[in-house]
Symmetry: C2
Subunit: 232 residues, 2 copies
């Protein structure tokens, strides 16, 4: 299953191997150790990444209702007993895969103007969801959250952390005098994202560059008008 290696995305964007692990993951090249004897230490991160990849593959192929610990064991080469012991079951596996997805080095665009940054941010979302291979995993996580409270919690944590990373984007805009000093960075980043996810997952409509531009312009107009500053 082809999945791009970009890690610089606001939305869920997952690479098959973590950036710190350049060697092939056990998912594609099984470790020499027999199932159930995965050693702790250096191998832990690779095991976790292999399990994460198997969870993603299963979510994309079967959806949350069809995902089983047996499937993850088979795909990852990690023994079922180990999976149950370390992750508890399917809910724990999905939640941890999402936590791991958040451990990338993503930072928001820095184009020199707030307008440019917001347009770039919106375009990143449109680009990701325009690529079926890149879109499959985030869509599967969002779907899983309808059926699992732990997946929903993990999704909430993922996006909270992701929007927190957008603080410098607003700080730079404030420093340049583009928006009021008290502008809430979190609300601004959410405002860009919301209309695009709304089309994708609620109204189920196509998404293009014009949608990205409008989402960015809406957020910019609201920020300039002081909508994202706390009430006096």
């Amino acid at each position: 299953m082809a999945r791009p290696h970009q890690l610089t995305q606001l939305e869920l964007q997952l690479s098959p191997t973590p950036p710190s692990s350049p060697s092939p993951s056990p998912a594609t090249s099984p470790p020499p150790s027999a199932p159930g004897t995965v050693r702790p230490g250096g191998r832990t991160a690779r095991t976790r990444a292999a399990v994460r990849d198997a969870v993603l593959a299963g979510l994309v192929e079967y959806g949350y209702p069809g995902l089983t610990v047996e499937y993850v064991a088979e795909q990852s080469g990690v023994h079922k007993t180990t999976l149950y012991r370390r992750w508890g079951g399917v809910e724990g596996l999905v939640a941890d895969a999402l936590d791991l997805a958040g451990e990338d080095g993503w930072t928001p665009p820095d184009t020199g103007t707030l307008r440019g940054d917001l347009h770039a941010l919106a375009q990143e979302i449109v680009d990701t969801f325009g690529d079926p291979a890149a879109a499959a995993a985030p869509a599967a996580f969002i779907a899983a959250a309808f059926q699992s409270e732990r997946a929903a919690e993990a999704l909430r944590g993922f996006y909270c952390e992701r929007f927190a990373r957008c603080a410098p984007l607003t700080e730079r805009a404030v420093a340049r005098g583009e928006v009021p000093a008290a502008t809430d960075h979190d609300s601004l980043a959410r405002a860009v994202s919301a209309p695009l996810f709304f089309r994708l997952f609620i109204t189920r409509e196509p998404l293009d560059a014009a949608d990205a531009d409008q989402a960015a312009d809406v957020a910019l107009a609201a920020a300039r008008a002081g909508v994202f500053t706390p009430p006096a």
Copy 2:
């Protein structure tokens, strides 16, 4: 299962009986005719409503993956053979339930100002999703769209038609000189809804009156700034 009878909602809001059918539906009071012999004409609408209610009950209780024609037959009192013949199967049943949901008399708020209308619109969404009984059906349809292309199509149709009904809201605002004449009513109504659905179904965060106010204010600021007018 308690479900409110309000029909004046922007988002999916379903009553157990259609407004044109004040008599009890076959779901609560089975028709005297034997299963499989449901007659055409006057009874068709009640049969359809009973089937719709059964589909909703199943979606809310088991989700799309757990919904079966057998369950709908049992709950609605309509024979399985009839369901297969008229709806084709689960996908057709879900799509038709959603089509039927769109056949209500909903119109957008008319408070005398655009600001008032947008705030009322946003508050309707917050109120509905703050009520677990009212929220269950729309959430179940949105979830089903992840797994069924026909449900996704029906959801797209539902929202397109719903936003089209918001045209008078923008027309009144244009007539009052509150926004530019070329303001696209569809974009304006979507802009109010998107941030609320984003919190509900993507970032999985709580929703309150402050979120409604911000969503309305963002849409208003963008409309005033001319973001929803076609590019020159």
